[in-house]
Each structure stands twice: as structure tokens, then as C-alpha cells.
Amino acid sequence: MALLDIQDLHANVAGNKILKGINLTINPGEVHAIMGPNGSGKSTLSNVLAGNEVYEKTQGEIHFDGQNLDDLAAHERACAGLFLAFQYPVEIPGISNMYFLKSAVNAVRKYRGEEQLDAMDFLDLVEEKKKIVKIRDDLLERAVNSGFSGGEKKRNEIFQMAMLEPKLGILDETDSGLDIDALRIVSDGVNALRSPDRGFLVITHYQRLLDYIVPDFVHVMIHGQIVKSGGKELALELEHDGYAFWAGEEGP
């Protein structure tokens, strides 16, 4: 069974048609990359998948792990194992990162019928995950993303993903804003999380990330449609030729 199955997805934002018939299937264990010019609809796709109500799905079907996504609210999707690492992580003053993480982990565990973690067990989990995605202690104590640098925010997203152990991780331009060392650390973290039953959808503008997180498939999204799919070589082609060819073919 496919982990994620998107059929003919159309979606609007603020009355504008952004996604115009997306088809995409991700099987467990696979890493898919989506590349595409600014404004082509990549973040719209990730938000529709995550359940953002600002984005209106007008047509098509999405199945995640056997469930119709229409039946699940955003928090239920997260609990069911769908994780979105935001292109622009949200700052929440007044809530400490640790408290936020504990609430999230326990919400997911509750949904899955698992026992709640107490303070000690939770700290143990944090220590364990810190080995996968290195994150400074002071960032964990501070309010969620508040005053974090761009790179720190991205790293915090991946740390959250490690904590929540999703079935599908959607990484929306996690690489933008990361310095060279951070890119390597975050990529190593993602690779450590790769497993036969976990899938990833990696949205990026740069071939460099895909040197570290090697994808099984690369898709090109232009004007709300996937215009070409291929293996990891496709990313190299794009790096060389740009999007002009397909963009011209499609017309704006």
C-alpha cells in the first residue's frame, strides 16, 4: 500500500487556482524530491497535505497510510504520522520549546494509544534525539522559534520531526537558510531517520541538498502541475538548464 497517494489534486488559495491536477505516489521507504520555480505551488501542496484550512482543496483525492485525508483535521494528520517541516517556521512567544515538544509528543502518543511520557522519560527521549539532530540546549529552553536565527528555526523543525517519529516527513525548503555545516548535520539527521517504512517528500531549490539526502525520485512542479518526473539525475539536469524549457512549454 502506498504511504501517500495523491490523485488529480486541485487547490485554491484566496480564490486563486494554485494546484491544477497533481498526481503523486510515495511508497514506504522512498524519498521524493520536488523542485520548481518560486510560486509554482510547492508550499501550497505541503500545506494542503498538512491540513491548513486557508488552502481549499477543490478536487481530487489524497490517501495517507490508507486513510482519506479529508476525514482528518490537521492535528489528526500529525498524530497519524504526517509531519511538515515548515518553510517559514512559526514563532510562538510565551511557550517554551521543551513544553511545546512535550505537549506534541504526548498528544501523538495519546492518539496512538500509547502511555504519556513523564518528565524523566521525556528528557531521556530529548537526549536520544539530540544525538540525531544536534540542537543547542538554550534553544530548547527558549520560547518556540522566538528570536531563533533562520538556520536555528530549520534545525528545530528537524528536531521536532525526530521527536515525533512520523511516517511521512515533508521538508519544505529545510535547506534554505542553513550554513554548510548545518546542512550536513540536518541531512545526516534526516538520513538517520530513513527507514523501510518511512517516506520523505523533500522540497528544495538546490541540487546540493540532494547530494546529501539522495532521492529515489525527482519531480518538477510548474504552475501547479508536476510536469516531469525522473530519477536523481533530473536534479542535475535542472541545475544545468533551469526551468525555462518547461515553463515555456506550459506558459504562465
Binding site: 498538512a50 491540513g51 491548513n52 484550512e53 483535521a73 490537521a74 492535528h75 494528520r77 500529525a78 498524530c79 509531519f83 511538515l84 515548515f86 517556521p89 512559526v90 510562538i92 512567544p93 510565551g94 511557550i95 511545546f100 505537549s103 506534541a104 498528544a107 501523538v108 492518539y111 520560547a143 521536532q160 515525533l164
Partner: protein
């Protein structure tokens, strides 16, 4: 003037002026006509209201009268005096709170008890002093008068906690309190007020604080109770280097109406006053915030910041926020601002994408909003208590 004469004059003053009406500028948004029409008795009865002492220095007032059994005034260190104001009547009563309002006049005329606290020079009290006011006598009025005097270089934390019954009761009483605080040079006074009166009670308090040179007065006022209530907080900076911090949080729902009137008087140079008031209003609650900062001509190098932020959880809730700056000096740093908003949908979505359901997400964000004020509470046991009250309130609101 002796106290007897003062009280006689106050009674005449109260009779002459009566309760304020909404025609008066300071009472424009708070209508007390309902209170004015009520008759209140002074009959005494014991109160069956629970409380938990914060530490070992506790004065408990039960329906307006000091209860010696419930209080704990032993183990006070040398240099600290604490007891009923009726036993330790001080010539300073009425020195700060005089003719400000009908409520102060009524209090001066009729107060029947209250706390007296005095620290002599240089005394530092480690544990807080907890003043507990229990009330549940239907139809009674409690005029409570407190006087806190902190000698030069002394330091103390005082918590006033007003408690009514938490169960839905129709006990309607009127608490009319006045607290006068004298903070001498170099003293440090941490003052907390937790107001959780019955939701059908009337609660009014005037707090007057006078600060000497380099004195630090830090005031936190948390209001969750009373149907109709008001805090008048007035600080007077009379010595250079004085610092007043007045923070507050009001959490209101149902048809609660709560009014905060702050007045900070910078009379001398180089003083600081910082005020942060936050409100969370649900259902048909009403709040009034009026913060006035007066910087007199001599008060150069004043540093005054005031901010009032409100979170409205319902469309029917309403806030009147009126920050006012009156500056007569030219070399000053003064800012003020007010905001009114709803919960941040983007933040709520972010929490949801991490598995947190919207009900809990809203509660977390609401708590986060209040947190800015709670963060400033330095006295640990007080902080714990306030946090628990905020949690409890949020649970009821989101249920």
C-alpha cells in the same frame, strides 16, 4: 488631624458626594449604580472559605474581621511588626489615601479592620507576608484598611489575596479595601494582589504607594473574581532613583466587569516606572484599563513605559483601553501602547501540525499570552499559586 476627626470628615464627605456616576471622567465606563442602590449590613458571621497559607507569616480576615485563630503571627523576626490596624493605629493612616474617591472616603469613615505591617530600617524578611481576606457573608460590606510601612533599606514581599467561594454562589457582598504603602529610601517592596472574590461580589480597592529615593516597588495584580470590580493603583515617586513596576493580569468571563485605573506620578528626576497589563476576556466580559503617567516639570530623565495588551476570546467581549501620558519635563523616555487582538491562527495551525488539538492549542496560546506577566513574578510560591489559578481558569474557559 487625629484619626477620629479624619473619619468623621470622611463620613461627611462620602455622604455629600455619594457614589460616582458615569458622568465623571474617571468612571465613564464603570457604572456602580447597582452597588449604590444596594443596602449592606455590618453583621458579622464566620466564613466557610478555604485558603492555603503562603509561608508562615499569615494574617487572615474573615468576613472583614481579623481571625486570630486562623492567622499566624509568631515567628516574626525582630524589627517586623504585623497585626490588626485596629490595635496598631498609626498616625499615617489617610496620609496617602485621602479624598481620591467616594470609595476611599467610605473606607476611611467605616473601616473596621485591616493589616498593619511595619519593617524597621534595614530589615529583610525572607518569606512573604500573606494577607488573606475570606468573604462569603451575603449582603455585607467589608471596609478593609491596610498600611504597610517599609523602613529605609528594608525589604519585604506582601501578598493580598481576596477569596470568595469558588462554587457558583449568589453571595453578593462588597469588599472596599484601601492599602497605603510607604516605601522609604532604598527599600524594596514586592506587593502582590490576587483577587478571586465570588463572581457575584463587588470588589473595589485603592492602592497608594509612595516611594523614597532608590526605593523599588514591584506590584503585581491578578484579577479573576468579582462581578463588578475595580483597582485604583496610584504610585508616587518622591525620591530620585525610585523604581515602580506595576504589572497585572485580568481574566474575565461571563458578565464580569473589571476596571483598572493606574496613576503614576513622577515628581522628581531619574525615576523609572514600567507597567505591563494584560487582559483575557471571554463571553460578555468587559474590561477597562486606564493608565495615566504624569511626568512633572522637575522629573527629568524619567523612564516610563506602559503597555496594555488584550486578548478577546469572544466577539461579545469588550475592552476600553485608555493609556495617557502627561509630560511636563523635556528630557524623558516615555512610551505607551495598547493592543487588542484575537488568538493567532497561524500559531494555532503550527501547534496542530504537531498533533496538538485546537482546544488544547487555544489554551496553550492563551496561557502563553498571560505568561509575559507571570514571568515577571519573582516570589516563587506566589508564582506557583498564580500559575495554578491561570491554568484552572483556562481549563474552565476551554471546557
Amino acid at each position: 488631624m487625629d484619626l477620629k476627626q479624619l473619619r468623621k470628615n470622611a463620613a461627611a464627605d462620602f455622604k455629600a458626594r455619594g457614589f460616582p456616576t458615569t458622568k465623571e471622567e474617571l468612571w465613564r465606563f464603570t457604572d456602580v449604580s447597582e452597588l449604590a442602590e444596594r443596602e449592606f449590613s455590618n453583621d458579622w458571621a464566620p466564613a466557610s472559605v478555604d485558603f492555603q497559607p503562603l509561608g508562615k507569616h499569615v494574617l487572615v480576615f474573615e468576613n472583614g474581621k481579623l481571625s486570630r485563630e486562623k492567622s499566624c503571627i509568631d515567628n516574626l523576626p525582630h524589627g517586623v511588626c504585623m497585626g490588626s490596624i485596629m490595635d496598631l493605629v498609626d498616625p499615617r493612616v489617610g496620609r496617602l489615601a485621602d479624598a481620591q474617591s467616594a470609595f476611599v472616603a467610605a473606607n476611611t469613615a467605616y473601616f473596621s479592620d485591616g493589616a498593619f505591617i511595619e519593617l524597621t530600617e534595614g530589615i529583610e524578611l525572607a518569606e512573604p507576608i500573606h494577607l488573606v481576606y475570606l468573604a462569603d457573608a451575603d449582603g455585607s460590606a467589608f471596609h478593609l484598611r491596610n498600611l504597610i510601612s517599609c523602613g529605609k533599606g528594608s525589604s519585604v514581599a506582601v501578598v493580598e489575596e481576596y477569596i470568595g467561594r469558588s462554587d457558583p454562589s449568589d453571595r453578593s457582598y462588597w469588599t472596599n479595601a484601601v492599602t497605603e504603602i510607604f516605601a522609604a529610601d532604598d527599600s524594596s517592596v514586592d506587593h502582590y494582589k490576587i483577587q478571586r472574590e465570588s463572581k457575584t461580589a463587588y470588589h473595589f480597592q485603592t492602592l497608594e504607594a509612595q516611594l523614597g529615593a532608590n526605593a523599588v516597588f514591584c506590584n503585581h495584580s491578578i484579577a479573576l473574581g468579582s462581578g463588578l470590580g475595580r483597582n485604583d493603583i496610584r504610585g508616587k515617586l518622591t525620591g530620585e532613583g525610585g523604581e515602580a513596576i506595576c504589572n497585572g493580569l485580568y481574566l474575565l468571563n461571563g458578565k464580569q466587569h473589571f476596571d483598572t485605573h493606574l496613576f503614576m506620578d513622577h515628581a522628581v528626576p531619574k525615576c523609572k516606572s514600567h507597567e505591563l497589563y494584560k487582559g483575557i476576556l471571554d463571553q460578555k466580559a468587559r474590561a477597562v484599563f486606564c493608565g495615566r503617567i504624569l511626568v512633572q516639570q522637575d522629573a527629568q530623565q524619567t523612564d516610563a513605559i506602559q503597555s496594555n495588551k488584550n486578548l478577546l476570546l469572544s466577539r461579545a467581549a469588550k475592552i476600553h483601553s485608555l493609556p495617557q501620558l502627561e509630560i511636563y519635563a523635556d528630557d524623558v523616555k516615555c512610551t505607551h501602547g495598547a493592543t487588542i487582538g484575537q488568538l493567532d491562527d497561524v500559531a494555532l495551525y503550527y501547534l496542530q501540525t504537531r498533533g496538538i488539538d485546537p482546544v488544547r492549542g487555544r489554551a496553550m496560546l492563551t496561557y502563553a499570552f498571560a505568561n509575559e506577566v507571570l514571568d515577571e513574578v519573582k516570589c516563587k510560591p506566589v508564582k506557583t499559586r498564580i500559575e495554578a489559578l491561570v491554568y484552572e481558569w483556562l481549563e474552565k474557559v476551554s471546557a
